[in-house]
């Protein structure tokens, strides 16, 4: 049983995601992106390379200066999203990254260096990230 958020939890999700290609609906193709996740006051880096999630790990906020974009939400919003995925097998329509981005005043994705081109990757690769979080439905999770 893995605790959300933790490096262990992300590693388990990554293993599920990489081992079952039926979970990959995102564009049916390669995703090359280094992103950051801001979960409350914790930060994680996540890297997609080709058809896989290549890396995921804990980091500091300053480590994310090279990230294409950072998805950032308060802890309770992340927990609600993950609990929703756990309960439904995938995100409900109001708990997808797209919906949460629309619902947050300034969106949930930002570029650490205000680079429009790299921030756009959040929209271009949105489904890959959604698929990754949907894969967490198969990871037994505590909070």
């Amino acid at each position: 049983m893995a605790v959300f958020p933790s490096e262990q939890w992300f590693r388990e999700v990554r293993e599920v995601y990489n081992s079952d290609t039926s979970l990959h609906s995102g564009g049916g193709g390669a995703c090359d992106s280094k992103a950051g996740l801001g979960i409350g006051d914790k930060y994680y880096k996540i890297e997609f390379a080709g058809l896989e999630c290549a890396n995921v790990g804990v980091c500091s906020e300053s480590d994310l200066s090279e990230a294409d974009f950072i998805i950032e939400m308060p802890m309770d919003a992340w927990v609600t999203m993950i609990k929703d995925v756990q309960g439904n097998g995938k995100a409900s329509s109001n708990q997808t990254l797209n919906s949460l981005d629309l619902d947050h005043e300034d969106g949930i994705a930002r570029s650490p260096i205000d680079d429009q081109y790299r921030q756009d990757l959040f929209y271009r690769y949105n489904q890959n990230f959604q698929d990754f979080f949907n894969a967490s439905s198969r990871v037994t999770t505590t909070f």
């Binding site: 564009g27 193709g29 390669a30 081109y117």
Partner: protein
């Protein structure tokens, strides 16, 4: 066998050099063309992402001139041949089409292609209340006209772009295919759940885009900065209120394709604004004209009420929550738009068209 017959008229050539007979009228090849090259010995190795278009931009092959005077189809880096008649390429300056990301976007587009026929879970479409189905079908009708406009304006200008900027031409080829895919999937959605296509759009903005004759950059201002930024919000809203997994698949994938188009569009406008003297001022003038046309289009009650019905789950909900949600969508689009204009150095906040400004105040 038919092809074989076409390829070999008469006896098949012998591969045996002793029995091969010289063909009358064909001289011995001299191979004088060998050695006629600008740069030889290039050996680019694939990187971790394979051998990508941008990777082979090495040596003279990677030199992208500010102005491409050659009016032929000569591939960039190939040796020119005297006497080739010119072709009517009217866009021959880099600032007229360039975006640094074009080569990467080309690769991304071909890797992330999707197939509406088999990949959309069509069997998961479910019956919707008639007012909602009619609204979805009306939006499909409108969006398919937008996709068709995008396809037509790209191909119109693509034809006039010099080969010196082949990365852009190739990327735009993928964008037209994306548009064709959008036309396909929207038509299929409208015709697969008990409805049909709705009323043709008045098409004010479509016409404005198609008639933007001042250059490709002008078209990009209207197509991507103004209307494209709006369509992003519209598609994201449709995705949020998708009725089933089939619609989720359609809108999410359209959104990803569209985001790629906008990345090119914004990147090109940034390049044009910073590399062409007076470019930003021209954009500001174009936007002042275009905003008026765009304001008139979003005043049109059809898309407005259809989206409100989708957001509100029916006519009743559309009158209250649905319309509020649609007006929020417009406000968020305008905030995105103003932010982008500011990033491009064509600030519009003070001079935004009054009819659009009122949406910010709702």
């Amino acid at each position: 066998m038919i092809l074989r017959g076409l390829l070999y008229v008469g006896n098949e050539p012998s591969k045996d050099s002793e029995t091969a007979k010289p063909i009358q009228g064909v001289p011995n090849p001299t191979y004088e063309w060998m050695g006629l090259t600008n740069e030889w010995g290039i050996r680019v190795k694939p990187g971790e992402h394979g051998l990508r278009l941008g990777d082979v931009n090495v040596g003279i092959y990677g030199e992208v001139p500010e102005r491409w005077e050659d009016q032929t189809r000569r591939p960039r880096g190939a040796l020119p041949r005297p006497g080739i008649p010119p072709l009517p390429y009217s866009l021959r300056s880099k600032h007229e089409m360039w975006a640094d990301c074009a080569a990467n976007l080309y690769e991304e587009a071909i890797q992330r292609r999707w197939i509406p026929a088999t990949e959309v879970p069509w069997d998961l479409l479910a019956e919707l209340p008639e007012d909602v189905e009619r609204s979805v079908c009306q939006i499909c009708t409108e969006l398919s006209q937008c996709a068709n406009t995008e396809l037509e304006i790209i191909t119109y200008w693509q034809d006039q772009m010099s080969y010196g900027y082949f990365e852009v031409k190739q990327y735009l080829a993928t964008a037209t295919f994306d548009c064709a895919r959008h036309l396909e999937v929207l038509r299929k959605r409208a015709l697969s759940n008990g409805g049909g296509l709705g009323l043709e759009s008045r098409g004010r903005v479509n016409r404005m885009i198609l008639e933007s004759s001042g250059g490709w950059t002008e078209a990009v201002v209207y197509l991507y900065l103004l209307r494209g930024t709006y369509l992003t919000r519209l598609l994201a809203g449709l995705l949020e209120y998708a009725h089933n997994d089939a619609e989720s698949y359609i809108y999410s994938h359209m959104l990803e394709d569209h985001a790629r188009h906008l990345t090119y569009g914004y990147d090109h406008l940034k390049y044009a604004a910073t590399h062409h003297k007076g470019g930003a001022a021209i954009m500001r003038t174009l936007l002042a004209i275009g905003e008026g046309m765009f304001a008139a289009e979003i005043e049109d009650p059809i898309v407005k009420s259809a989206m409100a019905i989708i957001f509100g789950g029916g006519i009743e909900g559309g009158r209250t929550f649905g319309m509020e949600r649609y007006l929020l969508l417009i406000r968020e689009f305008l905030q995105d738009y103003l932010e982008l204009c500011s990033w491009l150095g064509v600030d519009r906040e003070e001079t935004l068209h009054p009819k659009l400004k009122q949406y910010l105040e709702i």
